[in-house]
Point group: C2
Chain length 212, copies 2
């Protein structure tokens, strides 16, 4: 809402994490500077496109030199909001939910998982990776009291719409949804869907094209 400078397109945003990833790789190898054409070799995007993308946010490079790897990654950190901590909960403490609770890389991105919610009385009250599993009946109360920003949805399809509506109702800001449903959310809620099925069908299409 705040700085709607010039609305950067989603195709650009989608490439930023990729630049970030490759920069991390080369930084780990001790590389201090990188040119757009070196980044092009790594990522497969053209040097021109890389420069265009970055210049949506500012001139991070230097003529005749290229980009400082650490500095550029830091800029992308900021653009992507990785310097911010989001209080996060997982709704659905089944296998997928606990797989995600366990996935350390998310913490590095600033998503701090505070609780899991589930309806199964056998696991409510336990912990998964030292994260408490709480009854889903207490979800709204918890979210409001603990200033939760983001919810990750890993409940079965049939519960997902209801859960998401309840989350919106109690003021959640962002939703990372793994349930294979389509739902529209108000403008003040950000939703990002992981569509495993769609991805698998894409794989199926290219398999068929390649081998049948």
């Amino acid at each position: 809402m705040s700085n709607k400078t010039n609305r950067v397109s989603e195709t650009v945003i989608r490439r930023l994490p990729i630049y970030h990833r490759y920069l991390t790789d080369v930084i780990e190898k001790g590389v201090e500077r990188i040119s757009s054409s070196e980044l092009s070799n790594l990522t497969g995007f053209t040097a021109s496109q890389i420069r265009q993308d970055l210049n949506n946010f500012g001139g991070f490079g230097q003529q005749g030199y290229g980009y400082n790897t650490i500095d550029l990654r830091e800029q992308i950190d900021k653009i992507l909001g990785m310097d911010h901590v989001y209080n996060t909960v997982i709704v659905g403490a089944g296998r997928l939910g606990s797989a995600i609770a366990n996935y350390n890389e998310f913490k590095e991105n600033g998503f701090k998982i505070q609780a899991l919610f589930d309806s199964n009385p056998e696991i409510v009250g336990t912990e998964i990776d030292s994260i408490p599993v709480i009854s889903v009946d207490k979800m709204e109360e918890y979210i409001q009291n603990k200033n939760i920003d983001v919810a990750i949805i890993t409940v079965p399809r049939e519960y997902a719409v209801d859960v998401i509506n309840r989350l919106i109702e109690c003021g959640i800001k962002g939703i990372w949804n793994f349930a294979p449903i389509d739902i529209s959310v108000p403008d003040n809620v950000v939703i990002e869907n992981i569509r495993l099925n769609d991805s698998l069908l894409k794989l199926s299409y290219y398999l068929k094209e390649n081998f049948l």
Copy 2:
């Protein structure tokens, strides 16, 4: 390889599963015909785009009538290769691997999970949802003997490159990769990456844009 008719762009392919999903929804409600503009209302794509997309593969509609829902879904089934069965294994029987083994919707897409591979001797020899967990040492042998087409990679990042190279070596056709790595594969192998981290960073970006 076979019918490289006119190479349909990936942006089109990505929408097909979405059409498929909405068609299934309306078919379940008993709807027998649908116009491109009705599909537009459901999916958010323009009617024009929907007609363009479908006409990449043939004229499935009828002037003055629209599309028969069941027939159109069947056509999309075929285009996406959903009528074909792919023998599939999961490499990595941790939480994510078993979450996926457990996820029924994949079976409906024709991916039949035959085995899980893992290096942990405590689980090798057991079953997860009646799917055997086999030592990863026997992976190549199994894949070749049982004509496995597709491997799903859910091993930790540090093992992923090695596992994928071994799979390519022994003739796998498709890879559905959950490990956060970048790897290039030969032309005769199809790889589809699930980049959970990238998706989360996209969420982070829009959260920041909306609220900071």
